[in-house]
Each structure stands twice: as structure tokens, then as C-alpha cells.
């Protein structure tokens, strides 16, 4: 699958939601935890060797499951391959919890559902659709429980 790597690399250089040096392992046989610079930008998690400017890799954080594992450790896996886990060992339990929370909210899908939730609640409370003033009330993606195309 082709993709615009250049733009993705550019995205990796943007200010991050969250960034830290965390020990990480990839779901490959014999993979060990290695210290990486891990950077969350929109719905991508980039990981770098600590002294390099260009990331080794990127994870799109859609349809992923973020699991708190043992102390200081969390993992990311994807819906269609739940056994393949990217593991992250944080310095502290607090840091671990912060990352779990941040990563669970990082997806576009999460944002979309938040929006639908708020819209619904506001509408129930005020009787008004808060999206109308933006001219986006009819957009397919903001309809409650919508399936399009």
C-alpha cells in the first residue's frame, strides 16, 4: 500500500500531544525492550531511536486496544491481530496510566464518538443542535449510530 511517507515524516516533527523516552518492544520473535523516544501526534504514535531525527516507525492508532499490563507496563495491539502486542515499559506507574489514558483518547474514532455524545447531551438539555451553527449537522460522520456507504 502506497502512502505519502513524506507527510507522515513531517507529522512526526510536529509538536506532540505527549512524548517520552520509554522502553518498547515490537511484536516480533525475539524482540527485546529497547529505549525509544515515543511521540504521540494526532492519531499516530511515532517511535525513534533516541538519538535520531527520523522515526523508525509509526503506528496508526485506530481500532487498537491499549491494555494495562503488569506494573509500569502497557501494550498496544490491533483488533484484527490481538496477540501481536507492542509493549511499553514506563519509568513509573503514573506515567504508565497517563499514556494509557492518552492513547485511548487518541483515535479519530474516539473523537467522533465524543462529538456525537456531546451533541446528543446538549440537544437533550437545550433542545438545540449545537452543530447547526457550524453547518455540519448533516454530515454523515456525526449521526448517532450511523453507518454510511
Amino acid at each position: 500500500m502506497r502512502y505519502n511517507e513524506r507527510e507522515l515524516l513531517s507529522l512526526a516533527r510536529q509538536p506532540a500531544e505527549k512524548a517520552a523516552e520509554i522502553r518498547m518492544s515490537v511484536p516480533k520473535k525475539g524482540s527485546v525492550l529497547k529505549k525509544r523516544l515515543v511521540k504521540l501526534v494526532v492519531n499516530f504514535l511515532f517511535y525513534f531511536r533516541t538519538d535520531e531525527a527520523e522515526p523508525i516507525g509509526a503506528l496508526l492508532l485506530e481500532h487498537c486496544r491499549v491494555t494495562k499490563e503488569e506494573e509500569n507496563v502497557f501494550s498496544i495491539s490491533f483488533i484484527e491481530e490481538p496477540e501481536r502486542k507492542y509493549c511499553f515499559e514506563c519509568a513509573t506507574e503514573e506515567q504508565c496510566q497517563e499514556w494509557v489514558e492518552a492513547l485511548r483518547r487518541a483515535s479519530y474514532e474516539f473523537l467522533r464518538r465524543s462529538l456525537i455524545f456531546y451533541r446528543n447531551e446538549i440537544q437533550k438539555m437545550t433542545g438545540k443542535d449545537p452543530l447547526e451553527q457550524y453547518g455540519i449537522s448533516e454530515e454523515a460522520r456525526f449521526q448517532l449510530g450511523a453507518h454510511r456507504q
Binding site: L9, K18, Y118, Y134, A140, Q149
Partner: protein, 266 residues
């Protein structure tokens, strides 16, 4: 740079709703400019990701355009109904796409212009704030009979950081002026908020962590604990209500997805 391509491809084809989809002709970039040709592809927009497939029924996308930071413009190409996705990066290629007609082109330009994360985040934060205000108004309402929702809306509208989007720009001679992918929404204020809450005035509320925030990634933990204990009881956003509401949607979606699987939906 590695990318979790298998998972990305799965996301492209799974049943989660697309924000927009349709056939477009994509200009093929040739090195020696020996004429331009176009390939018809099936495009699917999900969030800030634009996938394209060889056929509508293809099981895997041929390609992906990450849309973050792009601008969408009408094109002066020889083709009618052409528009381009461009990036800031000098030397980055543009994606020139051609729609089937005026309506299709307009729909795509609109959808793509609003595809960035910043846009979504801005809207969500604005709604989060409105919900908080609505809760407060409701509490105030209990004391006085006057419905105060209109005043809270006025307060919001006067927030210069967030202008209502216009459906169409005022000049329509040669089509649209440039629609930035995030630029339409905020007027000059620093609207990108990637470092979690430190926006410029007028400020959007910073991400708040409350005791109620949970591992299920529930969307409203940002409301302060004080609000959760609001005396306005049927309308109180209490966690169990939230959880149930959230759970209902998931249950419905899951059922529908499972049914589609059974029917052999690709």
C-alpha cells in the same frame, strides 16, 4: 519508516463508517510530463485518512493519503471538476483528483477540508464547553423560570476563537477560495492544541483529569467532579449513565457489524 500497514489496511476496509466515499479520477504523476493521464479509483475518507482502492470491492487499498496539514484547492487543470490536495512542504507532490460532477466535487472538497484532527478536536472541545454551560444553565434555571440556553449560546458565539463555518464562501465566481483543512474554523487564534490544553486566548478549557476518568476511555471524564455531583439530578452526567449510553451505541454497532459479517459483507 515502518508503518503498521496491515492494521491500517484493515481499518480502511472494516465496517466502521466512512466519512465520505466515491469514485474519483486520480492524476498519474509521470516524470517526463508526457501528457497527463488519470486512473479511476474508489476513494474512502475516514477521519484524516484518505484511502483509494482499485475497485469498489477491492479487499485492500492501493494507497493512502495522510491528510493532516493539507490544503484542498480547486484546480486550474484542463479537467473540469478537478481539485488538488496539497501540502506545505515545498517539493511535496500534490494529488490531483477529478470528480464526476459539480456536486460530487463540492462534497469532496468540503469533506476533505474538514478532515484534519485539529478541526475535530476544536469542535469537540467547543461542545464540551457548551455542555458544561448547559449544565450550569440548567442548574440556574431551576431557580428562575427563564430558559437560559439562548444566553449561553450568545456567550459562545462571541468567542472570537471560533467562528461558525460558512457553508459557502461569499465569492463564487470561479468556485471556492482555498479551504484550509483546519483553517476555516479558527480565526487567527492559535487553534492547534497538541500539547494538551495550553492554547492562546480566548482559551479553550484545558484537558482536565477527574477522578471519574476511566479505563474505558469514556468521553466526558473531562467534566469537573463538581459537575458530576450537580444537584440537577435527572440531567446529571453521572458516570453510570454515561457508561450505559456509550455501551448502548457499542452494542448496536457490534450487532450490526456481526450481522454484516454473517452476510458475507466484504
Amino acid at each position: 519508516m515502518k508503518l503498521n500497514e496491515r492494521s491500517v489496511a484493515h481499518y480502511a476496509t472494516c465496517d466502521s463508517p466512512a466519512d465520505h466515499a466515491g469514485f474519483l479520477r486520480k492524476r498519474v504523476e509521470r516524470h517526463h510530463h508526457h501528457g497527463t493521464s488519470y486512473q479511476r479509483r474508489w476513494f474512502v475518507l475516514k477521519g484524516n485518512l484518505l484511502f483509494y482502492f482499485e475497485e469498489r470491492e477491492s479487499r485492500e487499498p492501493v494507497g493512502l493519503v495522510v491528510l493532516e496539514g493539507c490544503t484542498v484547492e480547486l484546480c486550474e487543470a484542463a479537467e473540469e471538476f478537478a481539485f488538488a490536495i496539497r501540502f506545505d512542504d515545498a517539493g511535496a507532490r500534490a494529488y490531483v483528483l477529478v470528480a464526476d460532477g459539480q456536486a460530487a466535487m463540492e462534497a469532496w472538497v468540503k469533506a476533505l477540508s474538514r478532515a484534519s484532527f485539529d478541526y475535530m478536536r476544536l469542535v469537540v472541545r467547543e461542545l464540551e464547553k457548551q455542555l458544561e454551560e448547559a449544565c450550569k444553565s440548567l442548574a440556574a434555571c431551576r431557580k428562575s423560570p427563564r430558559r437560559s440556553s439562548s444566553s449561553s449560546r450568545k456567550r459562545h458565539l462571541s468567542n472570537p476563537a471560533l467562528l461558525p463555518l460558512q457553508e459557502k464562501p461569499t465569492t463564487l465566481e470561479n468556485g471556492y477560495s482555498t479551504w484550509g483543512s483546519g483553517g476555516c474554523v479558527a480565526s487567527g487564534a492559535a487553534c492547534t492544541d497538541p500539547d494538551g490544553g495550553q492554547t492562546k486566548p480566548p482559551p479553550l478549557p484545558p484537558r482536565r483529569r477527574s477522578a471519574a476518568s476511566s479505563a474505558t476511555g469514556c468521553p466526558v471524564p473531562g467534566l469537573s467532579p463538581g459537575l458530576l455531583e450537580s444537584p440537577v439530578s435527572p440531567e446529571t452526567i453521572c458516570f453510570s449513565k454515561l457508561h450505559n449510553w456509550y455501551g448502548q451505541e457499542i452494542a448496536v454497532l457490534r450487532r450490526e457489524w456481526q450481522e454484516r459479517q454473517k452476510r458475507g459483507h466484504p
